[in-house]
């Protein structure tokens, strides 16, 4: 998996982080009922995912591995991500108010977004170097944005659709996600990439 383009295609489409890997479902269903919230959430995820990947990669390779502390990675990673998110929130609030009003309210939610931590772990499990890790993080984030934008626009339309009472809300969104997942299954085998 040295080919960066293949990593991009795999993370963006074939193994889409939400529809195929099931990472980050809470924000995917939590904030996707309107486009105005879905798109900024996707943007915030790309941003935090990229930053946290760089930080966790360096921490893992240059601190945890040399000190033989690999078993602490879960604790260290979640603390690093939580403090990164907290720091970004404060920084945006003080320095870039425009960005804060766009992303701010979504940032605290990102701490418990398993996609961020999941990508950090997957980078290590796949033995990615720094460049591959970066490409993987950015394209996973883009895949998240793609999926959340698609489901956001579907759910806006579903609001006016006649739906059986017991399927209203989340269940029908799951069914929509299942159909999207079916469509994305069509990408598997693309350029020799499998699930």
């Amino acid at each position: 998996m040295d080919n960066l383009f293949l990593i991009f295609l795999s993370a963006f489409l074939v193994n889409n982080i939400i529809l195929m890997r099931f990472l980050g479902l809470c924000p995917f269903f939590g904030v996707s009922s309107r486009m105005e919230t879905a798109v900024p959430m996707g943007m915030s995820v790309i941003f935090v995912m990229t930053l946290s990947t760089i930080i966790t990669w360096f921490l893992y390779q240059f601190v945890l591995v040399p000190l033989d502390l690999i078993y602490l990675r879960t604790v260290v990673f979640i603390l690093v991500i939580a403090s990164l998110v907290q720091f970004l929130e404060l920084f945006f609030k003080k320095q870039i108010p425009a960005l804060y009003s766009a992303m701010g309210i979504f940032l605290p939610l990102i701490t418990t977004n398993c996609a961020i931590l999941g990508v950090a772990f997957l980078n290590i499990d796949n033995n990615f170097g720094l460049l591959s890790s970066l490409v993987f993080a950015i394209s996973s984030g883009l895949g998240f944005l793609l999926a959340i934008t698609l489901i956001g626009s579907i759910r806006e339309r579903l609001e006016n659709a006649p739906i059986p009472d017991s399927l209203k809300g989340l269940p029908i969104s799951f069914i929509a996600a299942a159909l999207m997942g079916l469509a994305f299954l069509g990408f598997s085998g693309f350029m020799g990439l499998s699930l």
Binding site: L19, M20, R21, F22, L23, G24, L25, C26, F29, Y71, L72, R73, T74, V75, I78, L79, A82, T111, T112, N113, C114, L117, G118, F121, L122, D125, P164, D165, S166, L167, L170, P171, I172, F174, I175, A177, A178, L179, G181, L182, L185, L195
Partner: protein, 202 residues
């Protein structure tokens, strides 16, 4: 106290009612055994984090509580991760990245913050048991549905037990593979939630 336990299973069911902790629910339930394993792993973390947090609730400073909760939860997740790796290596490979990801399962942090932090250890233990059992049941049911429809067998334990043959040979050879692929997970939980809502409304 038994009220807390039963509420944990039904009224506060993590998946069907609160819709949190969805990622492992959909990702690992391709078989009943995997679902059960994931459910028990999360239950273990939930019980012990609830217990510890409620035991130390008077010492934990209010403004530092979230990072402290996270460290306590992450510790037990690490314990589970390494225990699974040592004793059930195959299950550990199947669950993969979702074992360390128990740490960001919002359900566990949610119970720490919303219940264990202001209840005595006895209640916190019952809540952990109830919520954990409710979570495990749903994972097991989803795994059962997906395994039976997707492979025609039930409760296959890799390397130990080849599973009950639910349908005949003809079904096993041409099963609904969709159900063990990712979209099948979304479909199963959608229908489970729909059925649950139907009964709750009545």
């Amino acid at each position: 106290m038994s009220r807390t336990f039963i509420d944990g299973i039904i009224k506060n069911n993590l998946i069907l009612v609160l819709a949190i902790g969805l990622c492992p629910t959909l990702a690992v339930t391709t078989s009943a055994y995997n679902g059960l394993g994931m459910g028990l792993a999360a239950t273990f973390v939930l019980i012990f984090s609830n217990l510890i947090i409620s035991a130390f609730r008077n010492i934990i400073p209010d403004n530092l509580r979230i990072p402290i909760f996270i460290v306590i939860i992450a510790t037990f997740v690490t314990v589970v991760d390494y225990t699974l790796k040592a004793y059930v290596p195959f299950l550990s490979v199947q669950l993969g990245v979702f074992v360390p990801l128990i740490v960001v399962n919002c359900g566990i942090l949610g119970r720490a913050e919303g219940f264990a932090y202001d209840h005595s250890p006895g209640y916190a233990l019952m809540d952990g048991l109830g919520i954990g059992l409710g979570f495990t049941i749903i994972l097991f049911v989803m795994g059962t549905i997906r395994e039976i429809l997707g492979q025609g067998i039930w409760l296959k334990i890799p390397g130990m037990f080849s599973g009950f043959k639910v349908f005949g040979e003809a079904f096993t050879n041409s099963s609904v593979i969709l159900m063990i692929l990712p979209p099948g997970g979304f479909l199963t939980i959608a229908l489970l939630m729909g059925i649950f809502n139907l009964f709750r409304r009545k």
